[in-house]
Amino acid sequence: MSARIQVDWTRCDGHGLCAALLPDRIGRDEWGFPIVGQPTVGDPNDGDVRHAVAACPALALYLHKTP
């Protein structure tokens, strides 16, 4: 089982916490919105990724699990 990092674009306000917490996976565009460069997560329980999802102030970042 793996998962993909996804953004609910209707919620995201570009706070940038995800990019700060996951600098290897997520960058920011010129307006501050996330650019998910590495969306695939091998382990859905990856601590850093779960932390970033939990930290998103707009509840916009989520993990979409794929069987």
């Binding site: 953004v7 609910d8 674009w9 209707t10 919620r11 995201c12 306000d13 570009g14 565009d29 010129e30 307006w31 501050g32 919105f33």
Partner: protein
């Protein structure tokens, strides 16, 4: 409003011309009558046979019937994924593409075909609710008059919902019907999982034809992969703009000649404003696979022609500005990226170096939104910039092309009253 007054209102607004390449199916009878009432409809098409779900699915599978709203999703797959329980059939008649007229023509002039299809799906899936969602008053009046004519349509509701480009997206329509804003949802949950079946007006009308003539005759025309006919809306610099029914796979050149397009158009756009500018190639087949092979998209079947009296780059800039204004402003990349892209294209018209910035902003919106709007807009602008390379160069060197922006590409939806 009385039925008679409604009919008069409908008749006054039948401004769209219709014509046919090959034999008409959806447009049958419309060469003789402005609108087919129930009696005329039955005289032209005959009665609709009763269907159960298995036959409906096997027919739809046999001819690979796909949604005609733009996405082209297979009808049978959508029906199979429909959840059990309280089912709701929604006819999406919002037709928010400003250049598209085909669904309005069907709603105003042949509403019973669409109703046949919707009622057949409702019967086969035991759905008690059927809703026809439209954007304009003339379409609403025509469908209401048609519903009033037939006892089997007592449960059909007609709803006029907010107009707007992204409001025509199926999930936005369903959200509006439930009392929410006419904007797409953030998470992509298919509506079929909640028991709601949404499809485009033409899809239901095609189904009404299919159920009558069966898959064998249905596949008499069209291509092997995409049997049957399709509706197009042809506009821009042509002598005969209007809605045309063609066998799927008809070469673009035949449609352009029949529409009275100039022999050497400056540019041709297929698929509307989420579609693509395609290199002048009259051999391109008007089908999903044909357009995909030409690097375009069939979309909802809009064909637009530019002649050489207008500044094509300026036309592109106008539509890009319009696309930016159509953002629902829900998603940041679309809300900020599309206006930035529009400014880049406007700068190109003014002879500035902005191509790199434009392609950067295309990448900034692609795949980064809740609906298909940013992706569609990106495809439209990217293909336009590729086709208009020489034009861009001319604007850069001379500060312009010397031609006015004639406004050959419509950017206001025709009659949304």
């Amino acid at each position: 409003m009385t039925a008679l007054a409604e009919r008069a209102t409908t008749a006054r607004r039948l401004e769209t011309e219709t014509w046919v390449v090959g034999a008409p199916r959806l447009l049958a009878g419309l060469d003789r009558a402005a609108r087919l009432d129930l009696r005329a409809h039955l005289a032209v098409h005959g009665p609709l046979p009763a269907v159960e779900i298995d036959r409906l699915l096997s027919y739809a599978d046999a001819v690979r019937l796909a949604g005609r709203g733009g996405a082209g999703f297979p009808l049978a797959s959508k029906l199979r994924s429909l959840a059990e329980g309280q089912r709701h059939i929604v006819v999406n008649g919002s037709e928010s593409e400003p250049a598209s007229q085909k669904d309005r023509v069907l709603l105003r002039r042949a509403p019973h075909l669409m109703l046949d299809g919707a009622l057949a799906v409702a019967q086969a899936t035991r759905a008690r609710r059927v809703t026809v969602a439209v954007h304009d008053a003339a379409a609403a009046a025509s469908v209401r008059a048609a519903v009033a004519e037939r006892p089997d349509a007592r449960h059909v509701r007609v709803r006029k919902i907010t107009a707007g480009f992204v409001s025509g997206e199926a999930r936005a329509v369903v959200r509006a019907l439930k009392g929410g804003p006419a904007k797409p949802h953030g998470r992509r949950t298919p509506d079929t999982l909640t028991g709601t079946f949404v499809s485009n007006v033409e899809t239901f009308a095609q189904l009404a034809i299919l159920l009558r003539i069966g898959p064998h005759r249905f596949a008499d025309t069209g291509t092997h992969a995409e049997p049957g006919t399709t509706l197009l809306t042809v506009g821009g610099a042509v002598r005969r703009p209007g809605v045309v029914e063609i066998p799927i796979g008809t070469p673009l050149g035949i449609v352009l000649a029949a529409a009275g397009a100039p022999a050497y158009p400056q540019a041709v756009i297929v698929g509307g404003y989420h579609g693509a500018w395609i290199a002048q190639n009259s051999h391109v087949r008007l089908s999903r696979t044909g357009l995909a092979a030409a690097g375009g998209a069939f979309g909802a079947g809009v064909v637009l022609v530019l002649d050489d009296t207008t500044c094509a780059l300026g036309e592109l800039a106008r539509v890009t500005g319009w696309l930016a204004a159509q953002s629902a402003r829900q998603c940041g990349p679309c809300r900020f990226g599309l206006p930035a892209l529009a400014a880049d294209v406007a700068a190109l018209v003014a002879g500035q170096r902005a191509l790199t910035a434009a392609f950067g902003h295309v990448r900034a919106v692609e795949g980064r939104g809740a609906c298909a709007h940013p992706d569609g807009a990106a495809r439209f602008v990217t293909s336009g910039l590729h086709i208009l390379q020489d034009e861009t160069e001319r604007h850069l060197v001379h500060g312009g092309c010397g031609r006015p922006i004639a406004g050959q590409l419509p950017i206001e939806t025709v009659s949304t009253r």
